[in-house]
């Protein structure tokens, strides 16, 4: 399934990364990564497991610190922000985790309320309920409002995870393996949801995945992370139009599996 056209503003970069490196003990995961994300764009980062894709978005959101290099998000150098400034920036970033990371001890409603109560203190309970209804309707799960996360399916958990990030109306969305562990039909629903979020909430997104169907369905641009660096970049077709054996192997494995 091909992605519908997006409204990308090529004059406005929302994320700029230059020469980013990150190592864990002796293992250097990112070896000088350069990246730009434009306003309104869905950028897919492809790569095998353990190549540092998730590390990249954790650095962007300030969960991990880079060893060197520049990470500029919405005009601010993430590594130089004070905790207060970082929190202010994080309100503009939505992070959808691989395993949804829903708070187990809270209902769906309490999960969605959690950031609202803390960051929109003047908001009445009625307004909070209205916003919760809007985001639940956006992810198509209005009926789950009083359920516990353990009562939801994998796909529903992913959707609620996305709804929780949307509740603060972020400008940037970071998706960590949004279709991992889901069946093809549910994966397609999630892909549609990612495109719907981009269209409806006008977000710029980085989607981390190794699922090529997902990459093709949601990506305006695709980059491929190999050996700690972005080796290929372009549209889905451009990235895989190569003689590079590593890239071909990745493509063949995905579509012949």
């Amino acid at each position: 399934m091909k992605k519908p056209n997006s409204k990308i503003d090529l004059t406005q970069k929302v994320i700029t990364i230059k020469g980013l490196t990150k190592a864990f003990d002796d293992y250097e995961v990112l070896k000088g990564v350069d990246l730009d994300l434009y306003k309104g764009e869905n950028l897919v980062v492809l790569g095998r497991s353990g190549t540092g894709k998730s590390v990249l978005i954790k650095i962007i959101s300030g969960l991990l610190r880079p060893d060197s290099g520049l990470v500029n998000v919405l005009g601010q150098d993430v590594d130089k922000l004070t905790p207060k400034q970082l929190d202010a920036l994080r309100l503009k970033i939505g992070f959808s985790f691989q395993n949804s990371a829903l708070y187990d001890s809270m209902t769906v409603k309490e999960n969605l309320e959690f950031p609202l109560i803390r960051h929109s203190k003047e908001m009445s309970a009625r307004d909070r309920d209205r916003i919760i209804d809007i985001v639940l309707e956006a992810v198509g799960l209005s009926q789950t409002v009083n359920q516990m996360p353990s009562e939801l399916s994998g796909g529903q958990r992913k959707r609620i995870g996305i709804a929780r990030t949307l509740i603060l109306r972020p400008e940037i969305m970071l998706y960590d393996e949004p279709t991992a562990g889901l069946d093809p039909i549910t994966s397609q629903d999630i892909n549609n949801l990612i495109n719907e979020v981009q269209r409806r909430f006008n977000t710029s997104s980085i989607i981390i995945t190794h699922d090529l169907t997902c990459a093709k369905a949601v990506g305006d641009r695709v980059v491929m992370l190999l050996d700690g660096q972005f080796q290929r970049q372009g549209t889905f077709e451009e990235v895989f139009d190569t003689e590079d054996e590593r890239v071909k192997a990745f493509y063949n494995y995905n579509f012949t599996e």
Binding site: A23, D25, D26, E28, K31, G32, K58, S61, G62, L63, D87, A88, R90, L91, I93, F95, F97, Q98, N99, A101, L102, Y103, D104, F114, P115, R118, H119, R164, T165, L168, D227, G228, Q229, F230, Q231, R232, Q233, G234, T242, D244
Partner: protein, 271 residues
């Protein structure tokens, strides 16, 4: 754009200040210091997570009551029963209420409560936070600009620090009641006589020491459970380890603290 020909020097090696193991040890010590000192920096300043604090107080205090009640009642009976023959040999069976009082108020009350709580509460805090770490729930709080330390750690440590002294008082009373029932059954002592002897045997310093120790034990149980869970390594194995080491470390520290406070209080008693 094709980046396939780009080459960079990736042979750079990371260096250690001392050795890898020593670096990790010092890093861990620093982490412990930073974790504990952060509590005192955050506990006095808003925002306060009142709902979570009350919920945790309920979890630590009310939900521990059945276990604490049964255990302390049995300890009171058993301790009285075991002490009687030794005192009777010296013809001092009438001193039994005083002996029970001193033993339970000075040492057994706080210690038994702390040991039970570290097994029940400490392990549960370690496992809960460990599981939240492994499933990225703590990261999710952080990226939504919520302070996970304040929400998870401050509330739990406050709950254990406040509730363990209350549970200790309760344990002491229930254990004394167990002791009374045993004494009453064997020596036909009235409740008034029993508790008069109990209160004559202890001093104000004993009550203060009992409270101070239980505050210290409560803080230790909460802090150790939170630290172990918060810094749990990835995977379900890490959650199990966090729960287990929360109990072992807390118990070890509680005995050390008991030893030190006992020395200090004995020194104060002489003054």
């Amino acid at each position: 754009m094709d980046y396939s020909n780009r080459e960079k020097d990736t042979t750079r090696r990371r260096k250690y200040f001392l050795t890898r193991r020593l670096d990790r040890l010092f890093l861990e010590l620093y982490q412990i210091y930073a974790f504990v000192s952060r509590f005192f920096r955050e506990v006095f300043f808003p925002p306060y997570e009142w709902r979570e604090i009350i919920k945790q107080c309920y979890e630590v205090g009310v939900k521990s009551l059945p276990l604490i009640s049964i255990t302390s009642f049995i300890i009171g009976i058993v301790f009285t029963n075991q002490s009687r023959p030794s005192l009777a040999d010296f013809g001092a069976a009438s001193l039994l209420p005083a002996l029970i009082s001193v033993a339970i108020v000075r040492a057994m009350g706080p210690l038994v409560t702390a040991i039970i709580a570290s097994g029940k509460v400490g392990s549960s805090i370690g496992a809960e936070l460990g599981s939240m770490r492994v499933t990225e729930q703590i990261d999710a709080m952080e990226v939504s600009a919520t302070n996970p330390y304040k929400f998870l750690v401050v509330s739990r440590v406050l709950a254990t620090t406040l509730m363990i002294p209350a549970l200790t008082m309760y344990t002491t009373l229930v254990a004394l009641l167990g002791g009374y029932l045993n004494v009453h059954q064997n020596e036909l002592t009235t409740i008034t006589t029993f508790f008069t002897q109990v209160f004559e045997a202890i001093t104000f310093l004993d009550i203060v020491a009992n409270t101070v120790k239980s505050v210290l034990f409560g803080f230790t149980i909460g802090m150790v459970g939170c630290y172990k869970g918060y810094h749990s390594s990835k995977g379900t194995e890490g959650v199990g380890k966090a729960a287990n080491s929360s109990v072992v470390t807390a118990m070890f520290l509680i005995f050390i603290e008991e030893l030190l406070t006992m020395q200090i209080i004995n020194a104060l008693r002489v003054i």
